[in-house]
């Protein structure tokens, strides 16, 4: 069990094939799905533990997702941000993940 402080600061995302990514809560909450998942008001296990297993996303894709989330967080207040580099072979899977996570 994590302490509430950790709960506040960081969340852990786990990919379907077992990779773990630890992100600041605010960064993760750019995704609406994740935000609801970690909403402290909801009583689901994810909110209580701060750990979420995303079974249908592979580690490779989740890494890219996390990269995007950080990238978004970093540049959120700026304009004319250059596009993030996306490897074309991941395109479709990333799109599906984006749809799933609602980013």
């Amino acid at each position: 069990m994590t302490t509430p402080e950790q709960d506040q600061e960081f969340v852990t995302l786990v990919s379907g094939d077992g990779y773990e990514f630890i992100l600041p809560r605010s960064t993760a909450c750019i995704s609406k799905t994740l935000r609801m998942m970690f909403d402290p008001l909801s009583k689901f296990s994810e909110a209580l533990t701060g750990r979420c297993v995303l079974e249908n996303i592979s580690g490779e894709v989740l890494e890219k997702v996390c990269e995007y989330l950080c990238y978004n967080e970093k540049n959120k207040d700026q304009v004319n941000v250059p596009d993030m580099e996306i490897p074309p072979e991941l395109c479709l899977e990333l799109l599906m993940a984006a749809d799933y996570l609602d980013v």
Binding site: T33, M37, S42, K43, F44, S45, E46, P87, M96
Partner: protein
């Protein structure tokens, strides 16, 4: 690498459909058990991700609609089976007596407890539902996104709320009953509010929660602002109940019959309802409930409250209940910007009090108003001392009248400032009433002028400048109310002239101040003549001085014996009464002056006419005074000297006795022949000299109060007085007093003549400017032009127009509408 990646793109997708395609039921089974767990608050073991993925998968399988419907069904079953039973179980039978207002105390208590239980259950059910639905919605977010955007369905949350509304609130409490849960809820909340209104403490947060619930539910699925259940169901019921409550309360308060209590309760209720709306109900209701209060409690009752016998506005005014007046004002102001009941009551009271003052003045002044015609010689001379008293009393009454009114005015000014928040409508109402009753007393202008007279003569002695200032200001305030300002001017002129000529005024500064105040208040035209009178006085002073200078130079021996102070008055500027006596004297041949005086008179006439050619001097002995030194040889051989200040006529009479040896006498007829003083003046002066107790310079035979033509007059050598200087006033002539009936008639006649002239002047002025004007327009213009001075009588204006047409100043231009033209 790239190749592998591309292959992997397809793989999961195929896998998804392949794996889960026929798996809808499994997915749903998973999901539904989880959802039930959520409802039973057993969610901590559930993985959000798992549930989310479940619904995600189902939607991807294009079974979203099925899922939506199933969830709805699930919720409905849940609400029907579980929530409803719980809620209805909390409804106890005592709550069903909703329609009967609980009068019996124990029943009320019981009901109250039951109500609280029910409300608590209700709140719990709703809060649970809200929480669960929040979680479920979160889990089903993916479905919601697809369903509400692609299929235009309301979000599952809204749908679930609607289900709650339909299946819990709208469900009958028992299978056979018609009453629904929401009805019970409504009546319970109303009952609670009722309890609070009657002074008990209720669980406000509880009610507040239930109200929030109603606010959170909508009539329709589209959730428009106006279709909140609170607005459609509860608020009307609440307002209706409040209406009935306040109607009853209004009646009850009226029955107790205390206006002050009414005001207090009403004010308290207003605050209470506002607070209730803030803390218990929705703040949007506040203006509505206030409106109900305004209408039911205040507007319908305020008139009666204002007029309540014994405690209404009248008593408040009488007893200076400023607080009560203030609250009644505030209440009235809420419902009616004109505050008509209150203003009427205040006005009525002012007029009443004013009438009392008027009546008081009349009562005080009640004397058998005997006409003072000069012809009534016998009657007039009978009891001068007694006659003087009532006249003085009348004057006192006049002054008291003014003082009373000033007191009243001050009182109402106070009330107006303190209680009516300096409201303009109230001010004008008060002003109107004041002018109404002041003008209802026909002698108001005269009284007011007397008031000034009195104050300028004695009242301001020993007062500071500011006191004098405020005193005069007060008077001026009353002048503002007087409509017939020309009447006031006439009286003021008369009184002023007496003050000036008899040198009775205490302070010329105060007089000037007064004039300038009047000028400010009424206008230039009004004070023109008054100022001219002052000018005459100053010119006369210079004239006297320069005449004395002149006399010294010419070496006229007489000037050594007689000092002449002269006042030359412009006849048009001074009051008519004084000038009128001039014309009378001319007819009768002026009074014969003793030769010493005559020579001085002629010398002055020469001097004056030499300076100003083409003028005519007429002498006014009635207005003059003389200082003469008298020697009284006593029987013991001593000689007693006195300096007497007497009227001009008395001087003339006394000088006659210079030629009369001691012991001899003059009869009335003798004196009359030798002086040619009119009967009226002669009698008055002889009375002063021979009848009045302290100033008996002459002895009369027989000793009686009347002066008859056969009376004999002796010089009184035994005249006694403790003072060296003695002032002998003329009986009823010098002091400014209330006029007798005849004098009044006279003044009024003159007034109406003068008004006629003013009206004609106004008509001509207007017509000259406009050339042609309809009758009605001319009327309004004339009225507005003259209103500063007096209120003209419409008939009089008509007559004047006729007369101007006859004299060919005007002509009739048209008949319909009647129009006049100006004839140049």
């Amino acid at each position: 690498m790239a190749m592998r990646a591309r292959q992997r793109i397809r793989a999961p997708r195929r896998g998804l459909t392949a794996n889960k395609g026929d798996d809808f039921e499994t997915n749903w089974a998973d999901l539904s058990t989880s959802l039930k767990k959520i409802h039973t608050k057993d969610a901590s073991n559930l993985s959000f991700e798992q549930l989310y993925r479940n619904s995600y998968n189902i939607v991807l399988m294009m079974r979203g609609e099925d899922l939506y419907e199933r969830i709805k069904k699930l919720e409905q079953d849940w609400l029907d089976d579980e929530v409803k039973t719980r809620v209805t179980a909390a409804i106890s039978s005592s709550l069903l007596l909703a329609k009967e207002l609980a009068e019996v105390q124990d029943q009320a208590n019981e009901r109250r407890e039951a109500g609280e239980r029910f409300l608590a259950a209700m709140r719990e059910a709703f809060e649970d539902h809200q929480l669960c639905m929040g979680m479920i919605t979160d889990v089903l977010m993916y479905m919601d996104r697809v369903m509400s955007t692609d299929h235009r369905k309301p979000s599952i949350y809204a749908a679930a709320m609607a289900l709650f509304r339909d299946h819990v609130l709208r469900s009958p409490i028992r299978s056979d009953a018609k009453t629904t849960v929401v009805d019970v809820l409504e009546s319970t909340i109303l009952f609670m509010i009722q309890l609070e209104r009657s002074g008990q403490i209720i669980d406000r947060p509880l009610i507040s929660h239930c109200v929030t619930m109603l606010e959170g539910l909508y009539e329709t699925i589209t959730e428009e602002e106006s279709s909140k259940l609170y607005l459609t169901l509860f608020e009307p019921a609440f307002l209706d109940a409040s209406k009935r409550f306040y109607q009853a309360e209004g009646r009850r308060l009226l029955e107790t019959g205390d206006a002050a209590t009414f005001c207090k309760v009403a004010t308290d209720r207003l605050a209470e309802e506002t607070e209730r709306c803030m803390y218990t109900l929705a703040s949007s209701t506040a203006p509505k409930i206030k409106e109900v209060l305004d209408r039911e409690l205040i507007e319908n009752n305020i008139a009666e409250v204002v007029n309540l016998e014994g405690t209404g506005v009248r008593q408040m005014l009488d007893n200076d209940r400023l607080d009560s007046l203030r609250s009644i004002y505030v209440l009235s102001a809420r419902v009616d910007p004109k505050k008509s009941p209150l203003t009427t009551a205040v006005q009525k009271r002012i007029v009443e009090m004013g009438k009392e003052i008027n009546a008081g003045a009349v009562e005080l002044a009640q004397t058998p108003a005997e006409p003072k015609k000069p012809a009534d010689k016998g009657e007039k001379a009978k009891k001068p001392a007694e006659k003087e008293k009532p006249v003085n009393q009348q004057t006192a009454a006049a002054i008291k009248w003014v003082d009373d009114i000033l007191g009243l005015k001050k009182k109402f000014d106070n009330i107006w400032e303190d209680s009516f928040q300096s409201d303009h409508v109230m001010q004008s109402a008060i002003t109107t009433s004041f002018s109404e009753f002041i003008n209802s007393e026909s002698r108001s202008s005269e009284y007011l002028s007397l008031f000034f007279d009195e104050n300028l003569k004695k009242g301001i002695k020993g007062k500071t400048e500011t006191e004098v200032d405020s005193l005069l200001d007060n008077g001026i305030t009353l002048l503002r109310y007087v409509k017939d300002k020309d009447m006031f001017e006439a009286y003021y002129k008369k009184h002023l002239s007496r003050r000036l000529l008899m040198k009775r005024s205490v302070s010329m500064d105060a007089e000037r101040q007064m004039i300038s105040k009047m000028k400010l208040e009424v206008g230039n035209q009004f004070t023109q003549r008054l100022e001219a009178m002052f000018k005459d006085m100053t010119i006369s002073e210079d004239l006297t001085a320069s005449y004395k200078e002149h006399a010294k130079k010419t070496g006229d021996p007489n000037t050594k014996r007689i000092d002449l102070d002269i006042n030359v008055l412009t006849s048009t500027m001074w009051p008519m009464e004084i000038m009128a006596s001039a014309t009378r004297d001319n007819v009768q041949l002026g009074c014969i002056y003793p030769k010493e005086v005559e020579s001085v008179k002629q010398s002055f006439e020469q001097y004056y006419l030499g300076k100003h050619s083409g003028r005519k001097l007429s002498w006014q002995p009635t207005m003059g005074t003389a200082d003469i030194r008298l020697e009284f040889p006593r029987s013991n051989g001593k000689i007693q000297r006195h300096e007497l200040n007497v009227s001009t006529y008395a001087m003339v009479i006394l000088l006659l006795f210079n030629d009369v040896p001691t012991g001899e006498f003059l009869t009335y007829t003798d004196i009359k022949e030798r002086t040619r003083i009119t009967d009226h003046d002669l009698i008055r002066n002889l009375q002063a000299l021979a009848v009045a107790q302290k100033t008996r310079v002459l002895r009369k035979e027989p000793m009686s109060r009347d002066v008859k033509s056969t009376d004999k007059f002796f010089f009184n050598n035994d005249f006694q007085s403790p003072f060296l200087k003695v002032r002998i006033g003329v009986v009823s002539g010098s002091a400014n007093k209330v006029e007798s009936q005849d004098q009044r008639k006279e003044t009024e006649k003159k007034m109406s003549e003068e008004r006629g002239a003013s009206i004609e002047a106004a008509i001509v002025r207007i017509m000259k400017q406009r050339k042609s004007l309809t009758h009605s327009k001319l009327m309004t213009e004339v009225l507005s032009q003259l209103s500063a001075r007096f209120v003209p009588d419409v008939n009089m204006i008509k007559k004047r127009i006729e007369s101007l047409i006859d004299r060919e100043y005007l002509e009739r231009v048209e008949e319909d509408p009647p129009t006049y033209g100006y004839v140049a």
